[in-house]
């Protein structure tokens, strides 16, 4: 007797006990597998959201920091930069940036609750596309450019004609740095799909519009305020709060923050 049944024609079979035991073990294994697969699936979903937000966060903050570093506290074309406004309501000088503020779901007792900020920055020009801002070194009102791409900058017609446009640029009195009138704005807008998107607008969208991040709950910019305990002069603190819910209902929240010194502040 070895636990299996020998039938009349000599073929081996299973006893009822073996069948029940085998079925029970398989059922337990199947239950464990389903439960483990469900957990892994939830884990993967939240991991994917976390990774996506992390990627968005790094890309957005890197881009904002790069623009802030190149910018400065200046008056260009009669407007004072950088200009920060709340809830999509700028003052009259920047009225073209008015927009409907993206919806927020944070409660008053949560860290990501508060006004939604937008910022408008002035940017140095790069008319010849060589990756370097233009400077009017000889102070004759025409910056030295490399329009013909020969690697040598000058204000000769071969280098400047067709690309230098004094109507749309301001040359700084002190540093002679050339500032473009195409300003750069960061704001959070609601997409047609109902998601909050952090967008970068060049010339209020006419010069380009790029979505940097999704699931943005709040965007804040803090600039130096005399007499208040804020950031030091010449710097801007930026903070992006993210909030996303997985299909299984798990709420994921995180934030990124950086303090940046604006490098081109000297006139």
């Amino acid at each position: 007797m070895n636990g299996s049944v020998r039938t009349r024609d000599g073929a081996a079979g299973f006893t009822l006990l073996e069948m029940i035991l085998g079925a029970t073990v398989l059922a337990l294994l199947a239950k464990t597998m389903i439960s483990a697969t469900t957990s892994v699936s939830h884990l993967t979903e939240s991991g994917n959201i976390e990774s996506r937000i992390q990627r968005d966060s790094d890309r957005a903050l890197s881009q904002i920091m790069e623009d802030l570093r190149m910018s400065g506290f200046h008056t260009v074309n009669g407007r004072d930069y950088p200009y920060v406004f709340q809830n999509g309501q700028p003052d009259s000088a920047f009225s073209e940036f008015e927009h409907e503020s993206a919806p927020q779901s944070a409660r008053p007792d949560q860290a990501d609750f508060g006004d939604m900020c937008s910022i408008v920055l002035c940017a140095p020009s790069d008319l010849d596309g060589n990756g370097r801002p233009e400077i009017d070194v000889d102070r004759d009102g025409i910056p030295e450019l490399d329009g013909n791409g020969d690697g040598v900058v000058s204000d000769e017609p071969a280098d400047v004609s067709g690309i230098w446009d004094e109507q749309n640029h301001t040359i700084s009195e002190q540093s002679r740095l050339v500032w473009s009138h195409e300003d750069i704005a960061y704001m959070v807008l609601q997409s047609p799909a109902g998601e909050n998107e952090l967008v970068r607008l060049v010339d209020n969208g006419d010069g380009g519009r790029k979505v940097l991040a999704r699931s943005v709950e709040r965007l804040t910019f803090e600039t130096y305020q005399p007499g208040a305990a804020t950031v030091s002069a010449g710097t801007v603190r930026v903070r992006i709060d993210f909030r996303a819910t997985t299909e299984s209902g798990h709420l994921f929240r995180t934030h990124s923050e950086a303090l940046v010194r604006l490098r081109n502040n000297s006139g």
Binding site: N2, G3, E18, L21, G22, L29, Q54, L61, G234
Partner: protein
């Protein structure tokens, strides 16, 4: 009965191996993500430290003290502190000043991890 028990044992061993490798891969992914996050945090922190002049950095960010705003913000028990090799904390501040930022945190198994970022600041 023996055949059944052997089959179940083999099945369990193979399942345990499969799950084990999955858990190990999650660990590797976690560790890689933590290192990337830590480097991002170090870069942001360095950007903030460099908003000060080299004379003020050791005063505003004392050696060994966790820098406010970077404690536990993105990693488990995360902390970022400064070190200034070549500067004892008293006397003249060297020019250039070497600034080391050291991030410490705990990984998913609560093992301590660290990563450093170094730069030099001229007066």
């Amino acid at each position: 009965m023996i055949e059944l028990l052997v089959a179940i044992t083999v099945l369990l061993i193979s399942l345990a191996a499969a799950f084990g490798s999955q858990v190990a891969s999650f660990g590797v992914i976690d560790s890689s993500r933590d290192s990337t996050l830590a480097m991002t945090e170090l870069e942001r922190c360095m950007e903030e430290v460099l908003t000060k002049s080299s004379d003020n950095i050791p005063v505003d960010y004392p050696e060994g003290q966790p820098i406010p705003g970077y404690e536990g913000s993105r990693l488990r028990e995360q902390s970022i502190a400064t070190r200034f090799p070549g500067y004892s904390g008293s006397g003249a501040i060297p020019d250039p000043l070497e600034v080391v930022l050291e991030a410490t945190w705990l990984d998913s198994r609560r093992r301590p991890q660290r990563l450093t970022l170094t730069t030099q600041v001229a007066r």
